[in-house]
């Protein structure tokens, strides 16, 4: 299968290791990976702020580039939800409405793609650490992804998995984190405290944007707890 990787803007600039891990994993599984260099962003920032015209300016060329992709795979539940769930909404009653629906139907979040589409859970990874998992809200509630990342982690050799006691948003929320930093920070503190309580060495997530927020708080607090993208864990041999 030819897999078209959609690398979110923040993953490209800040967390390239997560993207590289996805390439290596998919190639090891025997798939051809392509990555259209022209795609920079899915358009979620203006979309979530209510500027849908500007969001379409970004999203329309993205749709064109993904038009003939067999499968689009994204290492972020948030950007995945943008394409899978919100592009059809954004392009409703426009000439690209049909295309948006088609691309949405062929788009997958990374862990869901591995488990539900490829039927793979064991990637032969080894990661001898205690980890907990953070469900990004978009992946969890817009795309309904909960079991796939856990199924993948359960096959990692040496990995000690512990669930968080409570499910909650990390407080990132895109521009929300800058518009209402006090609320966003409080939410992040609750998340970090819950993760620390588990005694884990790492917080794993299938969304780098949440991890950026959590890591930003942990670093400022001087915590030893670290964050890592699911793909990087699965790529540890």
């Amino acid at each position: 299968m030819t897999v078209t990787l959609f690398i979110p803007c923040f993953m490209d600039a800040l967390f390239p290791r997560a993207g590289i891990s996805m390439v290596e994993i998919l190639e090891r599984l025997g798939h051809k990976v392509v990555c259209p260099n022209e795609i920079a962003c899915c358009g979620q920032p203006p979309f979530n702020s209510g500027y849908w015209d500007e969001a379409r300016t970004i999203a329309a060329p993205v749709l064109e580039k993904l038009k003939s992709a067999e499968a689009v795979v994204i290492g972020s539940g948030s950007c995945g939800a943008m394409i899978k769930k919100f592009y059809p909404e954004l392009f409703k009653n426009t000439p690209q409405a049909e295309l948006a629906k088609q691309v949405a139907a062929r788009t997958w979040e990374f862990s869901d793609f591995l488990v539900s589409k490829l039927g793979v859970t064991d990637l032969g990874a080894k990661f001898a650490h205690k980890v907990t998992f953070h469900d990004g809200c978009h992946g969890l509630r817009e795309l309904g992804i909960k079991t796939a990342p856990r199924a993948l982690l359960s096959k990692v050799v040496g990995l000690d998995f512990v669930e968080l006691k409570e499910e909650s948003c990390c407080g990132f929320g895109g521009t929300f984190s800058a518009k209402f930093p006090m609320i966003s920070t409080a939410m992040g503190e609750v998340k970090c405290a819950a993760a620390t309580e588990t005694g884990a060495d790492f917080i794993v997530s299938n969304d780098s944007s949440c991890l950026m927020h959590i890591q930003g708080l942990l670093s400022r607090q001087g915590s030893k707890l670290k964050t890592i993208h699911l793909a990087e864990v699965l790529n540890q041999q």
Partner: protein, 468 residues
């Protein structure tokens, strides 16, 4: 101060208040435990939600017919039905009834609609004495405060604070035990019940088929409010109608489960009229006021009409991480939390209240919790879209125009990354300070470094080496 700056000031203060955070979190965590236990008692909670949403859909989409049916049934048994387009009209109707009855004291059971029309304040200004009889409402009334939460009005207070309050206001607080404090409140209230001229209630559901109003409560105070005074007044929003009596079989346990984690609320009473000939109790006169107050504008909005499904259970507040951190009073609205953020812009003006829709990470916990399946967090997105479309913020739109211009041009995007990489060391020198362009983030959080080699750069290099 504008509504948004008031909100931000209060939110900053509350979200840093660790004591508040812990009180609310503890209370809501125990709520979650009992709620989940009660949800599990449903054969299928998800099917129950679907059925409830469909019933409400039917109720709201035929609201006109249901209201006519409800009214004629109520009137047939001697109830006086009044229609109020807005808060001013509702208050005038109520004042007129009180004046006609030469009333002086009004005993009230819990009614968020009365908060919505600022009834207590208006009546007190006219010289009436108003007493709240729901214990939580009684407590916040003593503090001259609006309810903190639509179901748990005084959940932000500890028993110690309530003891001190009772000591100060009632001169009686033997200990901070909830039982003893309740007995103090009960002694005060019983006297008020006896002397009250008029009883005032809200309504949880109105049944079109039978012409009944269903009131749900845990303390029995609404029953006394309805039974003791000679005149009863009920104020409710027009959206509270359910088509059939049998719908209560679903909605009563659902409201109790979602709202408080109870199998059923302790008292559920259906009122169908004032005292009938031959009956031994009940009010001699019953006035029902049906309140619009811009609900019909929500009804006209096909996209967000489902927010009229709301049964005011408070489930969305309970799970909302924003509510949990900023608390109920920060919103400055009658209805707080996610549902308040959705409907307040419709009820009180989009531009004045759009900030509540922005103050959300769009996590969707509210939508997941809503027993009648209101698409809450997507409505927040729609409010943002409507607000930007009708009155865009100049600099914000400009910023997004520039962002869109750059993000849709790969050369510019790649230049922006390189520029960021070069300038980030400079930003680090001023991190968190007033001249830091990223200070909204860096005041409390570290920024990750821009990678020396981006993914796209790695990918291009790799493709080049593979080609060789």
């Amino acid at each position: 101060m504008s509504f948004v700056s008031e909100f931000k000031t209060r939110a900053s203060e509350k979200s840093r208040d660790l004591r508040h955070r812990s009180v609310i979190r503890t209370a809501l965590r125990s709520y979650e435990v009992v709620r989940d236990k009660r949800k599990a008692a449903f054969q299928s909670w998800e099917s129950a939600r679907q059925a409830a949403a469909e019933t409400k859909w039917e109720a709201i989409n035929h609201l006109d017919e249901h209201l006519v049916a409800l009214t004629s049934k109520l009137e047939a048994r001697g109830t006086k039905v009044h229609w109020a387009s807005n808060g001013v009209q509702a208050r005038e109707i109520i004042s007129q009834i009180l004046r006609d009855k030469k009333a002086r004291t009004i005993i009230k059971s819990k009614a968020m609609t009365s908060e919505e029309i600022h009834l207590n304040h208006a009546l007190e200004k006219e010289g009436f004495t108003v007493v709240e009889s729901d214990l939580g409402e009684f407590i916040v009334q003593l503090r001259h405060e609006p309810p903190y939460h639509i179901v748990f009005p005084s959940m932000h207070l500890t028993r110690g604070e309530i003891k001190d309050l009772f000591q100060k206001e009632l001169g009686d607080a033997p200990s901070d035990s909830p039982e003893e404090l309740t007995m103090v409140a009960r002694r005060v209230m019983r006297q008020k019940y006896i002397t009250a001229d008029v009883g005032f209630t809200g309504g949880n559901f109105a049944i079109a088929e039978t012409g009944m109003i269903s009131i749900t409560e845990n303390e029995g105070n609404a029953r006394l409010t309805a039974a003791l005074p000679k005149t009863m007044i009920t104020l409710m929003g027009i959206e509270k109608v359910l088509p059939r009596f049998s719908d209560l079989a679903l909605f009563l346990p659902m409201l109790a489960t979602a709202g408080a984690g109870q199998p059923m609320t302790c008292y559920n009473t259906m009122y169908s009229g004032p005292r009938q000939p031959g009956e031994c109790d009940g009010p001699e006169e019953w006035h029902v006021i049906l309140l619009d107050n811009r609900r019909t504008e929500l009804l006209a909005d096909a996209e967000q009409r489902d927010s009229l499904h709301c049964i005011r259970c408070g489930a969305c507040l309970n799970v909302c991480p924003i509510f949990r951190n900023v608390g109920g009073h920060t919103y400055g609205t009658t209805y707080s939390g996610p549902v308040g953020a959705v409907i307040t812009p419709h009820l009180r003006g989009l531009q004045d209240w759009k900030h509540l829709s922005n103050a959300s990470s769009l996590c969707g916990a509210c939508t997941e919790a809503c027993p009648v399946k209101i698409d809450l967090h997507h409505h927040l997105l729609q409010n943002r879209r409507n607000a930007s479309a009708s009155e865009p913020a100049f600099f914000e739109r400009l910023a997004y125009k520039i962002f869109a211009f750059v993000a849709s041009r790969p050369v510019l995007w790649s230049f922006a990354k390189k520029f960021g990489r070069l300038t980030q060391p400079l930003q680090r020198l001023v991190t968190g300070g007033v001249i830091d362009p990223a200070r909204q983030w860096t005041k409390t959080r570290d920024l990750p470094p821009i990678a020396p080699e981006s993914f796209k750069e790695w990918w291009a290099k790799r493709k080049e080496s593979q080609a060789e």
